[in-house]
């Protein structure tokens, strides 16, 4: 029994992947100005055997074109001293580890931004090429769902929803 247990533990361990490279971008398209920000400091673990996946995105690591945008983003909108990271905890369904080439898959789980958790379903693609997994997804985040308030004065500068693009590259843990 003990031996079998150990084997299972070892096998499970080998099926976990961790992100060695990550890009999380968001794009806000509003009347006065388009705002983009990029974050390359996120982390993630994917358990290929169970499909479970977690992401952690440090809010202060989003980089903007303008210093002032970064200040406002952290202090006024995301309140990153209080809510330092965004997370996703969920499961990827319809993923075939054995298949080659990019395949469509869906992540279902809980997305937490600005201290507010919502159930989300995010469609994306996964490709497993020789033990290296790449995941890509693009989805919209409505600011109001996460209680991110935009002052009346700035409504023309900031969109009500932003487009989030993620790309994670995994290697075996």
């Amino acid at each position: 029994m003990t031996v079998a247990g150990l084997v299972i533990v070892v096998l499970t361990h080998a099926q976990k992947f961790t992100a060695e490279k990550s890009t999380v971008k968001f794009f806000s398209d509003a009347a006065i100005e388009d705002i983009t920000a990029t974050n390359t400091k996120s982390s993630s673990i994917f358990n290929e055997a169970t499909g479970e996946i977690v992401y952690s995105i440090p809010i202060k690591e989003f980089e903007f074109d303008k210093s002032l945008m970064k200040d406002h983003f952290n202090e006024k909108y995301m309140e990153s001293d209080q809510f330092p990271k965004a997370t996703f905890q969920g499961k990827i369904s319809d993923y075939q580890p054995a298949a080659t080439g990019a395949q469509k898959a869906t992540a279902v789980g809980k997305l937490t931004i600005h201290g507010v958790t919502q159930d989300v379903t995010i469609p994306g693609t996964i490709e497993n090429a020789g033990g290296k997994i790449t995941m890509k997804a693009k989805f919209m985040v409505k600011l109001v769902d996460y209680k991110i308030k935009i002052p009346q004065l700035l409504w023309k500068n900031i969109a009500e929803q932003v487009e989030v693009t993620v790309e994670f590259n995994y290697t075996a843990l």
Binding site: T18, P58, L68
Partner: protein
């Protein structure tokens, strides 16, 4: 059989908790990180004097400051608005996120001071792997008093100062801590040297300590306060310690600061050495001036990539 049930039960528990465990594993695998505290103050000024803030790389700040006549000059003088206004226009540029340079000019009949300073953020308050309790900024300022020129000197019957006599120097080290997202405080030891002074009432070298604070009421609206205490004021000095209270309001790229102060100084040297005078600066008599600072920040070039 019993054992198998136990294992099945355990496995289901493990399954339920798997995502939480995976999140824990993610946190454990992460390298310890340092998180820097930003926005200790809204702008580069608390009320009259400097804050630890620097401009971001490539940012150009235009600062436009006014101080009006005394409020206790009465309703006929529109509580100071009918009187004089001392104006300073300044530009500050962020060479890096921590190093800035500035030049400014004060505009008034008898005060045509040009000031230029270099600001460097020596240390940043942070939490996490390399935590540090305070933000430290050092500022070195050189001033040049353009008043009077030869014509003014002749008319007023005063000697024309040499270039050297017009110069002053300020060194200050600012220590600030953001205690919470609502409250920040700063303490600043200051040294001022002026090449030429009236020695019967002034010193060539002055030492002072400044205290400042900000209390955030809403996302865009804060209370601000500041006090400068002189450590070696000349016993015959007609001048006062500088104090100021106000609010700052932030809207996009602008910061508006509306202030009430006994000082007309718009640079550290004047704040420390020449607040008030024979008929001004006495808070006990209500010698308070209304004023404002307005800043507009422009981004030159892109900061990333």
């Amino acid at each position: 059989m019993k054992n198998i049930f136990t294992i099945l039960f355990l496995m289901s528990v493990v399954n339920l908790r798997a995502q939480d465990d995976l999140m824990k594993e993610l946190e454990q695998n992460k390298k310890p990180e340092t998180s820097y505290v930003g926005q200790t103050f809204k702008g580069t000024r608390i009320v009259n004097g400097q804050s630890v803030e620097t401009k971001g790389k490539g940012e150009l700040e235009f600062i436009f400051a006014h101080r009006f006549d005394k409020i206790n000059s009465g309703s006929y003088n529109a509580f100071g608005f009918d009187g004089y206004a001392i104006v300073r226009l300044g530009l500050e540029y962020g060479i890096t996120d921590r190093l800035g340079v500035s030049v400014g000019r004060t505009f008034y009949g008898g005060n045509k001071m040009v000031d230029s300073y270099v600001r460097y953020k020596v240390a940043r308050q942070s939490t996490g792997a390399n935590s540090f309790p305070v933000t430290i900024t050092a500022i070195g300022t050189v001033t040049y008093q353009a008043f009077p020129n030869a014509a003014d000197a002749a008319q007023l019957g005063i000697p024309l100062p040499s270039t050297s006599d017009r110069m002053g120097y300020v060194a200050e080290v600012l220590f600030a801590r953001k205690f919470s997202s609502t409250f920040s405080a700063q303490v600043t030891p200051i040294f001022v040297h002026r090449n030429a002074v009236n020695k019967s009432i002034e010193n060539n070298d002055d030492y002072a300590v400044a205290f400042g604070g900000r209390y955030r009421l809403t996302r865009s609206f804060s209370l601000i306060g500041e006090y400068y205490t002189r450590l070696n004021a000349n016993s015959n000095s007609p001048y006062y310690n500088s104090a100021g209270l106000g609010v700052d309001i932030e809207t996009g790229g602008h910061v508006f600061q509306l202030v009430f102060t006994n000082s007309l100084g718009l640079n550290t040297q004047t704040i420390v050495t020449q607040t008030g005078g024979p008929n001004d600066g006495n808070l006990g008599k209500g010698d308070v001036h209304f004023g404002f600072n307005i800043t507009r920040t422009f981004q030159t070039g892109k900061r990333k990539q």
